[in-house]
């Protein structure tokens, strides 16, 4: 049972929380045209890192607030808890944030392919 520190209620068992998956996914601006490919990237592609991941949790059984967490998915160790509207402040958190493919410029992101599938 993970012990997650709700920023408001303190440490609680993970059974009290609702998992929200990857944090910091930017919802595409609906007024701009958007290809199906780009949209599916937003909708379905997950950062599923083995290691440090920035993710959202909601203290469902408690204060019902959402917050962000920096967690190691190998050890389940939680390294940082921070507000949902902010970016991480720890060194590891910052690195994890910057390293994420969503925030790396597109040219470096995927190898060019002959097959645009």
């Amino acid at each position: 049972m993970l012990h997650i520190e709700c920023p408001w209620c303190g440490f609680r068992d993970d059974a009290e929380f609702h998992y929200g998956g990857e944090a910091h996914i930017t919802r595409p601006d609906p007024s701009k045209t958007l290809t199906d490919e780009k949209f599916s990237e937003y909708l379905f592609l997950k950062t599923n890192t083995k290691g440090l991941i920035l993710e959202r949790w909601c203290h469902r059984s408690g204060c019902r607030r959402w917050f962000n967490v920096l967690r190691n998915t190998i050890t389940n160790e939680i390294l940082e808890v921070y507000p949902v509207t902010e970016t991480p402040s720890s060194k590891q958190g910052k690195e994890t944030y910057d390293r994420n493919w969503r925030r790396i410029s597109p040219s470096k992101k995927t190898p060019k392919t002959d097959e645009a599938k």
């Binding site: 408001w8 209620c9 303190g10 609680r12 068992d13 059974a15 009290e16 059984s61 408690g62 204060c63 019902r64 607030r65």
Partner: protein, 205 residues
């Protein structure tokens, strides 16, 4: 804060645990006493602490002590204020006072982004007291409620058994109050009675 406001016209009020037939039952030297605090007026207050107006109005019309620090509650002359979240409080008061209190606050907060919602009937309150109260709660609540940690005046929203609750410690004896959703009250009552299995238990009306 229990109410004698039983009826309006010919309408009769029923509480969620009405059907549990909790007439005074069990020994008077019980180790555990369970009781429903029926028909307590309850109101959700939402608002932002970063807004000065919100705080001053609330202090004036609700309680000078407002707000409450996280995971705690306090009693003022007419109200009990329970912290629920950074912008959310549960106000308990006599049900007869509720409407006027709500109206006063509504007027005072008209310019603030705030909300007041009557939730008197959304939940009910079960009081549990007696020397083994903590042991019983420990059977289904993952929180550390050791008296050095969860002191009188502490509150927590958590799960007890399979029900979501707000837990208050109201006296050192100890006395705990459990605020539980109306439709879960029957389950939780059964759960508590079951958890008190090895103790001398008394149920009160």
């Amino acid at each position: 804060m229990a109410s004698n406001d039983k009826t309006i016209g010919s309408a009769t009020k029923t509480s969620p645990l009405e059907t549990k037939l909790i007439f005074n039952k069990g020994p008077t030297d019980a180790e555990i006493t369970l009781k429903e605090n029926k028909h307590v007026g309850k109101m959700i207050l939402r608002g932002s602490l970063s807004e000065k107006k919100f705080i001053t109005s609330t202090k004036k019309h609700l309680s000078q002590q407002f707000p409450a620090s996280p995971n705690s509650f306090y009693d003022d002359t007419k109200v009990r204020v329970i912290w629920l979240g950074p912008d959310e409080w549960l106000i308990l008061t006599d049900v007869t006072e509720l409407d006027s209190l709500k109206d006063d606050l509504t007027r005072a907060l008209i310019k603030s982004h705030s909300a007041l919602v009557d939730v008197s009937d959304n939940s009910t309150i079960i009081e549990i007291k007696g020397r083994y109260s903590r042991e019983i709660l420990m059977k289904g609540c993952s929180l550390d409620i050791h008296p050095s940690v969860f002191q009188t005046g502490c509150s927590a929203q958590t799960d007890l058994g399979l029900a979501n609750i707000i837990l208050l410690k109201t006296a050192d004896d100890p006395v705990y109050q459990i605020i539980v959703r109306a439709s879960f009250a029957s389950y939780l009552w059964d759960w508590l009675v079951d958890a008190a299995h090895e103790f001398k238990i008394r149920t009160e009306n």
